[in-house]
Symmetry: C2
Subunit: 244 residues, 2 copies
Amino acid sequence: MVDLDQIKVLAWDIGGTVFNWRGTIEKELEEIQRKQGIELDIFKFASDWRYGMFDMLAKVRSEEIPRINADQIHRKVLDDVIDTSGTLSLSESERDDLNSVWHRLEAWDDAPAAIERLRERYTVIPLTVLSWSIGVDCSKFNGISWDGLISCEFLRQYKPDPGSYLHAAELLNVAPSEIMMCAAHTSDLMAARETGYRTAFVYREIEKARDISTNTFSEEPSVPLECFDVHGQDFVELTSKLLT
Amino acid sequence: MVDLDQIKVLAWDIGGTVFNWRGTIEKELEEIQRKQGIELDIFKFASDWRYGMFDMLAKVRSEEIPRINADQIHRKVLDDVIDTSGTLSLSESERDDLNSVWHRLEAWDDAPAAIERLRERYTVIPLTVLSWSIGVDCSKFNGISWDGLISCEFLRQYKPDPGSYLHAAELLNVAPSEIMMCAAHTSDLMAARETGYRTAFVYREIEKARDISTNTFSEEPSVPLECFDVHGQDFVELTSKLLT
């Protein structure tokens, strides 16, 4: 059992873990579909956009393409997804507007109060592949305050590459073992653990583990729960365990 | 007169402007002086430490020495200042402890409430040459929450070099003209203005303008108040003007 007295920092994944990207994106697409009177496979559109971002991010991580941030990636992928959809017609400025939906992601209902409570005992920050301004804007939009906000946009590497977790620890001025990564995604947690972080898994209904090479999905967590130091069915249970 | 509706972000200097570095450092030194029963020129010690940091930072900025953050600079300068003082005897770990005082700087009394009020209308962040963890720790120590926290530690350049302000604007995803730099220091504000930022000056009793080349000091502000878009005698007056 992890000794929680050794933990100084809780580093949170936010895309999917704190913010409900799919619910927000699908609602925005439904509104556009209604206005334009078109047929759109909304689930597929949202998925292609999100996972297309991770595919392009993999190219950034491998230096196959120059380093660009999540906003720039989202915007490029959006063009592809619109082309693929076949039915959606949007001007350049309408595409920019749609792309800005990532700055207004709605938080999961149980997240804001949990984060506020955890800050009483820990330094609580996001550690995200999303752009820094997405983190700032979505947090402000949902009334969530953190003790700071780290985006891989200004770290040496992007998650789940080890340099991201190690550089975050340097900025935080603590040892990796004093940080607990909190996420709904196995890959993030297992990569953080490899660099010495402690880990906390929280269930989120829509999050699936994706194998990027085969584009196949499995239920989260994709490893036994015992691989994590702490786990919770939701933010309430996880918070309760982290504050004992 | 600046149109405040055009301003999205207030970027705050924190060392000296939000946190009373001199008061905190001098109190810590008085305690050490009392315990050791020595004579120490506390005003000079605190000044040499603070301005020695800026002198070494100038060498980082000019690439005369490799890039190190404010914590590492503070620690190196502390050794010099202790040697110069002649009377203070501290072990390596005691020096590390004393160096950590920069993570416990006390906020000026009028700062926390002002920042909280300003967040209702603006995105409010620090933009500091201090290390990112100093910003996080001092804010948490004083119960101050921000919408995010930018340290030059991870920007292309350190203030007052232009790349610092421009990179911060990029991370914030806004134009420089949509940011207002808020500080008690003329040099910071005038440099920010050169890159397109708007400026707000706030008086702090202990802050003086320093000419680094001659090590001479003058009253702040060292330019006419009219050079700034907004100014206030204190945080209460400045906040009132920024929220009209």
